[in-house]
């Protein structure tokens, strides 16, 4: 069988998608876990004209940068062709009706590869999301270091 990769972009103008990538996992507060839709993850900020970005998630802040991908990445959407009038005779599997549609292209990502920096405040409003570090202990070490500087 054969799956066609369709593209309606025309002359090289695929809509560009963005990627925000960070090490670790973002976890919503238990009360939100079933309804993530429309929930805020965090605030992305570009403090200066440098291509440096910060991303504040819950009590943590990440620092990262905008990076061009070495190779572009296509966003493909799997679609089932809906039965048109002239149905093919002898189409053995329904999977032959599958098409891939190019719906976007990714050329850049905002990459956060540093350890998260905790924001120390008891007055921060209760965040909906928190950042879980994949590497255990990173957050703790960060906190300790910060406290040493402060006091």
């Amino acid at each position: 069988m054969q799956i066609r990769v369709k593209c309606k972009c025309g002359e090289g103008k695929c809509p560009e998608w963005a990627v925000v990538e960070l090490q670790g996992v973002v976890e919503a507060q238990p009360s939100f876990q079933d309804r993530l839709q429309n929930l805020e993850i965090g605030v992305l900020c570009r403090p200066s004209s440098q291509p440096v970005y910060t991303f504040k998630v819950g009590y943590h802040e990440l620092t990262g940068s905008k990076v061009a991908l070495k190779k572009p990445m296509l966003v493909l959407q799997k679609t089932k062709r809906t039965g048109t009038g002239d149905t093919d005779v002898g189409t053995d599997t329904n999977s032959s009706n599958v098409e891939l549609q190019v719906i976007g292209i990714i050329r850049h990502r905002i990459l956060f590869k540093t350890r998260p920096k905790p924001l120390i405040s008891s007055k921060l409003t209760n965040p909906s999301c928190t950042l879980l570090c994949l590497i255990e202990g990173y957050a703790m070490k960060g906190q300790i270091a910060r406290n040493l500087i402060l006091f």
Partner: protein, 425 residues
């Protein structure tokens, strides 16, 4: 942000207070509402000293129908012009084909959190048009994440998987019998088992169109009645003999055969037009085209190899008797030389005698692992000059022929001047 900085002011000494207050002002500026419509553009084109809220999309979910495919910039034109397809049967690993190349597809996982933010003009991701509109109006300064991508697909250029084509076409070769049947019954509703049209082959063979076409040519396949066929060897042999016979009778030169004459003569002998024409294609080359006359030259090597194969079809022969019979069979005006049989035959010495048997590179599989395993089953040790004709057609993107030898053979060289010998690893 603001609150955390206040906290720091309390904890540090007096001289730094002024600096910190300045920073607070910048922070306040950053919290100005954003212009922009809140999709990927707002993230990618974020102005200095500004910020944007990143939130889960109203349609956030696993979205298994969204796939990320990393590919070379040079393949983008193929994508835009819709020349790319994925090919394979359910039990095969899918490959991606451009017009001329084949790539295997690998999934590469990513343990990072990869938040995918669609472009703002992506109407697919609106529950309804109202939703989209509301988004434009109210949700400025919010970029929405539709999916967390667990990884992406990557492409690796591979050799096309063409062995299957030979198998498919061998299911039902075109025979002399079929010609007779066609004559007997005007319209034969022959069961078309083992018959494949171009579109069927494309569905079944994991190769790009160009690679498929060139392999059809290499297999001397011909399109008859819409189906791609290989013609039974015995049948090709009779047509070729008839062609040579006609050239002798009519005093035609084998270097300058007039297509119209040859084809119409063969047709009058009872061979279909298509096959008469195919015979010229298989055993000759078009040399000239003038005044609408197509002129063909028979290829010495191909004709000679054909007769050598015919002789060795029955099994191995003593060298002398093979050579004698071969020379007799070669048409007048052609010169057979043993070099022509490179990659077609193997010789072995048994006592004082040399024996020869057919061992054709075209009958071997094209995957290097299978190829070498059959080669070493045939013969445990190979001299380079014998081995080379059987591996020179192997192509593995990214691996040179030296690399192939290193990977699949053990090379021994008893002395510095001795010819290297290759055995299985």
């Amino acid at each position: 942000m603001l609150l955390s900085l206040e906290l720091r002011i309390y904890s540090v000494g007096f001289p730094t207070i002024l600096i910190l207050i300045l920073r607070i002002i910048i922070v306040r500026e950053m919290e100005q509402p954003q212009s922009g419509n809140g999709g990927a553009e707002a993230v990618l084109n974020l102005e200095p000293s500004s910020s944007i809220s990143i939130a889960y999309h109203s349609l956030f979910g696993p979205h298994d129908d969204l796939i990320l495919l990393e590919l070379d910039e040079k393949l983008l034109p193929d994508i835009l012009q819709q020349r790319i397809t994925l090919r394979g049967q359910p039990d095969e690993d899918a490959v991606l084909c451009t017009g001329s190349k084949t790539y295997s597809i690998k999934f590469v996982g990513n343990s990072n959190s990869v938040f995918l933010i669609p472009s703002s003009d992506q109407t697919e991701f609106c529950e309804n048009s109202l939703d989209c509109k509301r988004k434009d109006d109210d949700q400025q300064g919010v970029a929405s994440v539709i999916k967390v991508a667990p990884g992406n697909m990557e492409l690796v250029e591979v050799a096309p998987r063409l062995d299957k084509l030979k198998l498919l076409l061998s299911e039902n070769p075109y025979t002399f019998q079929e010609d007779l049947e066609m004559e007997d019954l005007e319209v034969v509703e022959k069961g078309n088992t083992g018959l494949y049209k171009w579109d069927d082959l494309v569905e079944k063979v994991q190769a790009s169109d160009e690679e498929l076409r060139s392999e059809l040519q290499a297999l001397s396949a011909v399109e008859i009645g819409g189906y791609w066929r290989i013609v039974d060897v015995k049948y090709m042999d009779t047509i070729l003999r008839m062609l040579l016979h006609n050239s002798v009778i009519n005093d035609w030169s084998l270097d300058a055969l007039n297509e119209d004459e040859v084809v119409s003569m063969l047709e009058s002998d009872g061979y279909p037009h298509k096959l008469a024409h195919h015979c010229l294609h298989v055993y000759g080359n078009k040399v000239d085209e003038n005044l609408g006359r197509q002129v063909w030259k028979l290829d010495e090597r191909r004709v000679c190899v054909h007769f050598a194969r015919e002789i060795l079809k029955e099994g191995k022969r003593k060298m002398e008797s093979f050579m004698k019979e071969w020379m007799q069979k070669i048409p007048e005006g052609m010169q057979a030389s043993f070099d022509m049989l490179e990659g077609e035959v193997l010789t072995e010495r048994l006592g004082v005698e040399t024996w020869i048997h057919a061992f054709s590179v075209s009958s071997l599989p094209s995957s290097p692992a299978e190829r070498f395993s059959i080669l070493f089953r045939e013969r445990p040790k190979w001299a380079w000059k014998d081995l080379q004709p059987y591996i020179r057609d192997l192509s593995v993107p990214g691996l040179s022929s030296e690399g192939l030898l290193l990977k699949y053979t053990r090379r021994t060289q008893p002395t510095q001047d001795a010819e290297p010998v290759f055995s299985a690893r």
